[in-house]
Structure formats: structure tokens, C-alpha cells
């Protein structure tokens, strides 16, 4: 047996108490994180049920109005063509919204099922941008928004920028960014889209001058069903799926998305996508490679 002096004993006790305290602190810290995650999960669950109850508002109501409008058109006389045009415009707007929301719902469902894969092809970036902006033409017109591409009006967009990646996924990424920008811009605002190729990556940047996002919300906006203004009087439609789909798609294509925004200063989303390295030919297994560990 070792004989300990009183001093040694006290020191040893001190050391152990300190260790205990450290462990306790660590435990408290971890508990805090756990509580946070727990809250987040129950929020996620609540948002899911919110989503399901919202479906009637967001999907069934537009269908009802489309049916009613088309019925009125069928019954209207030739003389009232001016009215018919405005009704067709309403039908277009409703179906456009539905189509876009379905695209997001199905993309999210496929992503959650793990069934989505990149479909790589050579894409015409300018054509894609033109397509997306064209599809939002009427939505932007409603709010008198001006869209600039690389500081030029849309009509002046150059062509001839090719990039190897997934056409449909980039299209949905851009459509979601633009949809948000249109949604959150004030009337007569300006939306600036910039695109360029740099170090073999495609950089898309979209700036709006709307209400902006406060820094504490920058993380949660990429969560599913997350809408910052989810109150009953929320003016903005949608399910809060768009940004979570964008995030998952940029992940899938090996890219990154970042956000610069302050309340009242608008928001700038920047998506950086690396060019896809050809096909998956690098994965072909050669005879020699089928051996187990080479070591």
C-alpha cells in the first residue's frame, strides 16, 4: 500500500472533483443539444401535419377555380372575348402554380425515397435561363418586376454557354430561386440574375430586393415545410419545400448553396455547381479490381 500525505490526498480529490465538473459540464452541453434536436424533430412533425392540412387550400382550391373558370368560358358567347382572355390568364396562373408545386412535391418525395439520380447531359445554360425566366413572365408582370441578367435586360441574353450537368435539376433549382425572388420582391422591384463559368464551375446568383431574411433564420430556411411566415394570413403560397429541394439537388450535383441576406436588404442566393466529370465510367470494374484487399 502507498501511504499518501494529506496534501496528496487533497490534491487527488481536487483533481477528481474537477474532472467530475468537466464531465457534468459536457453532459449539460450535450443535453442542451439534445433538447434542441428534440424540439426540432417535433417541429418537423408538426410541420408535416400542417402540410397535409394545407393541401386542400393549396391544391384543391386552385382546381376548383380552374374548373369553374373553364366552365364559364365554355358557356360564354363570342362577344365576351375580352372577359375570356382575362379568365384564361387566371387559369394559366393557377395551373402554372400547381404545376410548379407538384414538381417540388414529387422532387421532395423522390429525394426522400432515395430514388433520384443525376441525369447528366450537355446543357445550354443561356437557353435554360431563358426558359425559366420565360415561364415566370406572367408572375413577374403581375408585380411589375424587372428581371436583369448579368445587368442586361432578358432580351439581350447571349447564347452559347455550355455546361455538363443535369438539365432538369438545375432548371428546378433556378425556378425555385426565381419563384422565391418573385414572391418576396416588392412591387416594381428588380431581380438580378447573374451567371458565369469560373474554374470549371457554374455560378448562379440571384438577388432580390425584398424583405430579406434575418441571420438567425438562415439555417432553418433549408428545412422542409419551413415557411417563415406560416401564419393564417400568410400572403405567400407554397409549401416550404422549394429551398429544401434546392439544397438536396445541389448536394446531389456536388455543389454548394449560400445565402447573403439581412432584414430589409433583400436576399442573394448563390449556387455553385461543379461540372460533372463525364459519365460514371470511372466506376467500371476491371478483372484485377475484383480482388479483395490488395495489402
Amino acid at each position: 500500500m502507498i501511504r499518501l500525505s494529506d496534501e496528496d490526498l487533497i490534491n487527488e480529490l481536487k483533481k477528481r472533483f474537477e474532472e467530475n465538473k468537466k464531465n457534468l459540464d459536457e453532459l449539460t452541453r450535450l443535453n442542451k443539444i439534445l433538447t434542441k434536436v428534440n424540439n426540432r424533430l417535433s417541429e418537423a412533425e408538426a410541420m408535416k401535419s400542417h402540410f397535409i392540412s394545407n393541401i386542400s387550400n393549396e391544391i384543391i382550391n386552385p382546381f376548383t377555380s380552374i374548373l369553374a373558370l373553364s366552365k364559364t368560358i365554355l358557356e360564354s358567347s363570342k362577344e365576351s372575348w375580352k372577359q375570356v382572355i382575362s379568365m384564361v390568364a387566371l387559369i394559366h396562373s393557377e395551373t402554372f402554380n400547381l404545376d410548379f408545386q407538384f414538381a417540388n412535391i414529387f422532387a421532395a418525395a423522390k429525394l426522400e425515397a432515395g430514388e433520384i439520380m443525376p441525369e447528366i447531359s450537355k446543357i445550354d445554360v443561356c437557353g435554360l435561363i431563358k426558359d425559366v425566366i420565360d415561364s415566370f413572365k406572367y408572375e413577374a408582370k403581375k408585380k411589375n418586376l424587372k428581371i436583369l441578367i448579368n445587368s442586361e435586360p432578358v432580351s439581350k441574353i447571349q447564347s452559347g454557354l455550355f455546361f455538363v450537368s443535369d438539365y432538369l435539376k438545375i432548371k428546378l433549382i433556378l425556378a425555385n430561386l426565381l419563384s422565391n425572388a418573385v414572391k418576396f420582391s416588392f412591387t416594381e422591384g428588380v431581380i438580378e440574375l447573374e451567371y458565369k463559368l469560373e474554374n470549371g464551375s457554374l455560378i448562379l446568383s440571384l438577388q432580390d430586393h425584398g424583405q430579406g431574411i434575418s441571420p438567425e433564420n438562415h439555417d432553418i430556411i433549408f428545412d422542409r415545410f419551413q415557411k417563415l411566415d406560416s401564419g393564417i394570413n400568410s400572403f405567400n403560397r407554397g409549401h416550404g419545400l422549394g429551398l429544401s429541394v434546392i439544397k438536396a439537388f445541389t448536394d446531389l450535383l456536388g455543389g454548394e448553396i449560400s445565402l447573403k441576406s439581412l432584414p430589409g436588404k433583400g436576399a442573394r442566393f448563390i449556387v455553385i455547381l461543379p461540372e460533372s466529370q463525364g459519365d460514371i465510367e470511372g466506376i467500371t470494374f476491371n478483372g484485377n479490381e475484383l480482388l479483395f484487399d490488395e495489402e
Binding site: 424533430l41 425515397a113 432515395g114 455553385i272 466506376i283
Partner: protein, 177 residues
């Protein structure tokens, strides 16, 4: 010369799941990610996932990017294609510590492997073989008809190689900051 494999080849992307009762060769490349291969010897069907992080914490979509979700969804898919849960066997691969982190306690690879053991145990699915951990990535080839998994360790790149082959996004990100 490429070896001719029976059945088709499917390259499994991260965060995805593939399941089939026909003969497929599912292949993927793993670093700190984990792939769990499921096989039913009775109806000769298999499934494989490839997840990157252990647990979904409410962030983003509840996709098979996360182990707890990927494993449960893969088993659901096996059951959908006609397997019985009591017949399913699992093999676990990956979870290497590819990036040299000093903080071994929070090694993502180990945590990815750990979650596979916990969730599979919960589901009562036995792990019949595994190759996990270490410092080297793995190439996996899983035959859904025979349940065979071939795997090869990948040579770890030199640090200079990593620096020279940084994805362009990494470089840009640095410049922006």
C-alpha cells in the same frame, strides 16, 4: 479487360437506395460514408443504401442521406419487393476516417458505422459480415442475386494530391470568404 458481370450494373449515388429482386450489380465508392447491403437468401433479392451522416435532426429533407432513415427505408423497400424481415441479412461497409481528424471522438465514419449497428439491432437484422473503419476508402460491388459483396480498399491520396484536386467549389468558397 473488363470482367463481364452477370446482370446489370447500377452505380449507387450517395443519399440514394436501390432494391431489386432481379440480378443487379450495385456498385459505389465509400469514404466516411456507409453502405448497408441487404439480402434475402429465400427470394434472392437485395437492396443497398449509401448514407453520409448518422442521424437526421430535422434539417433539410428526411432523405436517405442519413443513416437512421436510409436503413429503415431500405428495409421497407425489401419488404415491398416481397422479402420477409426475418430472412433479411445485412452487410456493412465503409465508415473510414479519410480526412485526418485529430478529434477522433467525433469521427463521422465511426458514428456512421455505429448507427448501422444500432438500427439493425433494433430491427432484428443480423450483420453477417462487415468491413468498416480504417483510413482507406472502399469500392463495393454487391450482387443482388447471390448476396456476394466484393470490396476493394482504395489507396489513400497523398496530402499534396488532395490539395491539387480540391473541387473547384472548395477553392471558390475560400476566395469568397
Amino acid at each position: 479487360m473488363n470482367q463481364i458481370l452477370p446482370g446489370n450494373i447500377h452505380f449507387l449515388y450517395p443519399s440514394t437506395i436501390f432494391a431489386s429482386h432481379e440480378e443487379w450489380n450495385i456498385t459505389t465508392i465509400l469514404g466516411s460514408c456507409v453502405a448497408v447491403c441487404f439480402w434475402d437468401p429465400i427470394i434472392k433479392a437485395g437492396a443497398m443504401n449509401h448514407y453520409m451522416l448518422p442521424l437526421w435532426n430535422g434539417q433539410g429533407l428526411a432523405s436517405p442521406k442519413y443513416g437512421n432513415i436510409a436503413i429503415k427505408k431500405s428495409v421497407e423497400k425489401m419488404i415491398q419487393i416481397g422479402c420477409r424481415i426475418e430472412n433479411i441479412k445485412a452487410k456493412v461497409f465503409g465508415g473510414a476516417e479519410v480526412l485526418n481528424s485529430k478529434n477522433t471522438q467525433f469521427n463521422i465514419g465511426d458514428r456512421n458505422v455505429e448507427i448501422a449497428r444500432i438500427v439493425l439491432d433494433e430491427l432484428g437484422i443480423p450483420i453477417v459480415s462487415s468491413s468498416t473503419g480504417g483510413k482507406r476508402g472502399r469500392k463495393i460491388l454487391f450482387n443482388t442475386a447471390t448476396g456476394d459483396v466484393k470490396h476493394k480498399l482504395i489507396k489513400p491520396p497523398e496530402p499534396s494530391e488532395i490539395l491539387n484536386n480540391l473541387p473547384p467549389t472548395a477553392i471558390l468558397y475560400k476566395n469568397n470568404e
